[in-house]
Symmetry: C2
Subunit: 159 residues, 2 copies
């Protein structure tokens, strides 16, 4: 039961994620993007979100990290923020033309990375991996919800 811990899906996923992030980061850097930018860029381009809050939800990160990322992306000329005329607390976020122009290349880079990493996989195997991961993520979300409602911060644990 000892070495086993480092052979579990949990640890393998962590290794895979760090490796893939490192690879993608290196390839995206020449384009002026980072790996974490992509959900934001895609959401903005597709109109799936335009506020910090919605972007955080879309990317499944907390609000402060999203705020920091948006600050860096604004600093680097990838996005613009204009105060929302209807809500003094909020800003509408838009892609800059430069970011939009380079986005297809960034997506292509990530697609290529996926192909590289799935070398030797049949289409069925690649699909199976995605399906298994999707189920695992669903379990993760479920467990996170349960833990959150049982961590003492919620008023009713007997829902």
């Amino acid at each position: 039961m000892d070495l086993d811990v480092l052979s579990t899906p949990g640890h393998l996923i962590s290794l895979a994620a760090r490796g893939f992030a490192r690879l993608s980061e290196a390839r995206l850097k020449p384009l002026g993007f980072g790996v974490g930018h992509l959900p934001v860029l895609v959401a903005l381009r597709d109109g799936k979100a335009s506020t910090q809050r919605d972007l955080a939800r879309f990317a499944k990160v907390e609000q402060p990290p999203m705020a920091q990322m948006l600050a860096r992306m604004e600093r680097d000329g990838l996005i613009r923020r204009v105060p929302d005329p209807a809500d003094g607390r909020s800003s509408r976020i838009t892609l800059t033309p430069a970011a939009e122009a380079r986005l297809p290349d960034a997506i292509a880079v990530l697609i290529r990375g996926n192909c590289d990493v799935l070398r030797g996989f049949t289409d069925a195997e690649a699909g199976l991996l995605a399906a298994l991961l999707t189920r695992l993520i669903a379990n993760l979300d479920r467990v996170a919800t349960v833990e959150a409602s049982a961590d003492g911060s919620g008023p009713n644990t007997d829902d």
Copy 2:
């Protein structure tokens, strides 16, 4: 080809890794451990490594992050460092009794997390996921090696 990027194994793996890390972090915190500590703890307990360099290699992280983690682990009473009498540059790193005593609980926590996350998976599916991830990681290592030798820092790109 647009929404697709966020449905690729690369992105799914990233999501799964963050979710699993968050879950494990929350569960390990009461034991005084962090997720990243486990490879170090296991390697030290099993005698797989005892220097900073070997620990970094074992955990597959770079040397500076490992140095920082060891500094925090030493600060938190998980490890001790004694100067290597045979090599003035190096230190031998050992687990403290307290850390060793709590390690089995930490491993149990991670095993449980894996079980939670694999809920609904057959043994065959869990094994398949691990096998696919292992192959993916091998591809990742291969690509990383190729990119490293082609990034301009090497003297000969025509090996």
